[in-house]
Symmetry: C2
Subunit: 361 residues, 2 copies
């Protein structure tokens, strides 16, 4: 016969109240207290006494204990490369709004585009401190795939994933997106369309470069290595790349630039402003992601929306449905891109030049 060695928590303690505190104060068992607190069957009398007791001591259930019992935390994780990039902020807001509807909170991780950090995160997932995760990796390694296979908690990948990988996946169609941009610029009569890419060794970088080259062929323009710049997906790269492009001799200078994201496009635009290069008269500009930054700039930047918010919503919904039913087959959703034409690429160059000269002189 085992005897209890420790006494249960005493009633009148200065510490945080638990169910026992409430139950003792109400003069009922903790089971009854718990039932009342969770709105289950109970007599009106006890219900009243329990509620009164709970209110009196300011009882609030402990989320951790509840999580342990329920085997769920009510937390979703979101892991993105760069929390400073507005496109991720947008996605985050979208995910959060869906998550909130289902009483989930969002835990945000910034991986700094570091694959090792992403892997560490996937590994820690086994600790089950969240119920599921949205991961938006810049590149997928074998390590990622095996970690995904091992993971006991559902993960939705936002971004490209190998065809056969059996995971929930929502992706943008940046190939079509780049094509939209190039066709648009070509339709304006631009002949020397440059491309400022991000990191070529990332999936988006590689994809967008290939799409750019394919689109050039499609519209019947020759490719020119000197018109392609690669670096990272940041503002500073946009500035320096734009400077390099415009430093070329007159006949080889681009008359249009497609950028791999809005941060780069914004950088390029500021460089043009600094150099007195007119947009879109001298050079037309199209960005990608259609973030707030594109609308905040002057002139406003045309941009290809890759549906960040929509991808976020879908990712969250996939996650919630998988939590509800883990046996679901892997799903793959693709959000179509959309070109938003703004001042940075509107109108034909020749037609615009006189009008703008007049206005600014």
């Amino acid at each position: 016969v085992a005897r209890k060695r420790l006494q249960p928590t005493s009633v009148a303690t200065g510490a945080v109240p638990t169910v026992r505190t409430v139950a003792a104060l109400a003069g009922v068992s903790i089971a009854s207290a718990s039932r009342v607190l969770n709105g289950l069957q109970a007599s009106t009398a006890t219900a009243a006494r329990v509620r009164e007791a709970a209110a009196k001591v300011g009882y609030v259930p402990n989320a951790i204990a509840r999580s342990l019992q329920a085997r769920k935390t009510g937390l979703l994780a979101l892991a993105v490369a760069d929390i400073g990039n507005p496109v991720y902020v947008e996605m985050m807001a979208a995910i959060e709004s869906v998550a909130k509807q289902a009483d989930y909170q969002l835990l945000v991780h910034a991986t700094g585009a570091d694959p090792a950090a992403e892997l560490a995160l996937l590994g820690r997932l086994a600790q089950r401190y969240v119920d599921a995760m949205v991961l938006s990796p810049l590149r997928i390694t074998d390590g990622h795939l095996s970690a995904l296979h091992r993971s006991p908690v559902p993960v939705v990948i936002v971004g490209q994933l190998p065809q056969e990988a059996p995971f929930d996946n929502v992706r943008a169609d940046s190939t079509t997106g780049v094509a939209l941009a190039i066709r648009h610029l070509a339709s304006l009569g631009r002949k020397r369309i440059a491309f400022i890419n991000g990191a070529t060794d990332t999936v988006p970088g590689a994809t967008r470069l290939a799409a750019y080259l394919a689109a050039l062929t499609e519209v019947g323009l020759p490719a020119d290595d000197g018109l392609v710049e690669a670096g990272d997906f940041q503002y500073a790269h946009g500035r320096t790349a734009a400077a390099r492009l415009m430093a070329r001799s007159a006949g080889r200078r681009p008359d249009a630039i497609c950028c791999a994201n809005d941060l780069i496009a914004f950088g390029a635009l500021q460089e043009f402003l600094a150099r007195g290069i007119r947009v879109p008269d001298d050079v037309a500009l199209v960005g990608m992601d259609d973030t707030a930054l594109a609308q905040m700039a002057f002139p406003q930047i045309s941009s290809v929306s890759l549906g960040a918010a929509k991808r976020g919503v879908i990712a969250a919904e996939l996650l919630l449905s998988r939590i509800a039913d883990p046996t679901l087959p892997p799903r793959r959703e693709t959000v179509p891109p959309e070109l938003v034409v703004r001042a940075s690429s509107a109108g034909a160059p020749a037609a615009r030049i006189p009008a703008r000269r007049k206005a600014s002189s």
Copy 2:
């Protein structure tokens, strides 16, 4: 005598392994297994067997169960109004880096500048799903104060707090910050210095307006109601307010503008760009917060740094020290502001105009 009705978890289950799984596989008690896994005293033999078993089944401790036992979650919360504002991103990154050092993760809440949402958050804090929270409210109500008093988990307030409120508090000195901006603009010979404020019914808004008026007096300039605009702390307000200010008759137009934050300043700058108003020649511009946006703009925007990153670091450190010792007396730290002069306000207007005209023609 109570008999166990349910069997303990069987060893060979397809489910996630627990300590019992490992212990059974290693042929030791769960106590020994736990000790080995936590690096406590154990014989080399058992240690080896436990580690081998753990590796074999891929054991990872459950963070929730561990939290319940340890009575700590390893999570810090950060609640800010607007996750889209770069100044909060900066603060978040700073807090996260300190938190990570101490093995804490950051849970970010966006309150949308809604006091009710902030209060709800403070209330949920009693659920103890985080160990502590950094709250940056735009205004402090009595509800906030009483919720803070009730809160069983430590909260650090970033922002102004009533003198007598006994809570850890780190604040910017935006009064001095505004004074720095006004003195700077006045020293450039500007006579009609406007102020584009955010929401006047917020603490920062009210403080900065008062500071603006005081600073004007200090530098011997008359106040002019027509030179003060109020709205919110967003980009769009900056644009419309700037447009209104510049629509005044020639003699009453401002020759300098101080903005309550960088988002507003950036909006104003884009409006000037759109209208062909030269910065700083026609109007000098100073923002506040010294965010990345100020450096990304062209011309780069002078800005008063209120030390967002530093405030974040201090807030995190206050939190960690309070978690370590809850009996500490309330502390109050103030981060001094710093004016960063950039092109948007550099040089005297008359001296600069010819030079810039030449360059841009």
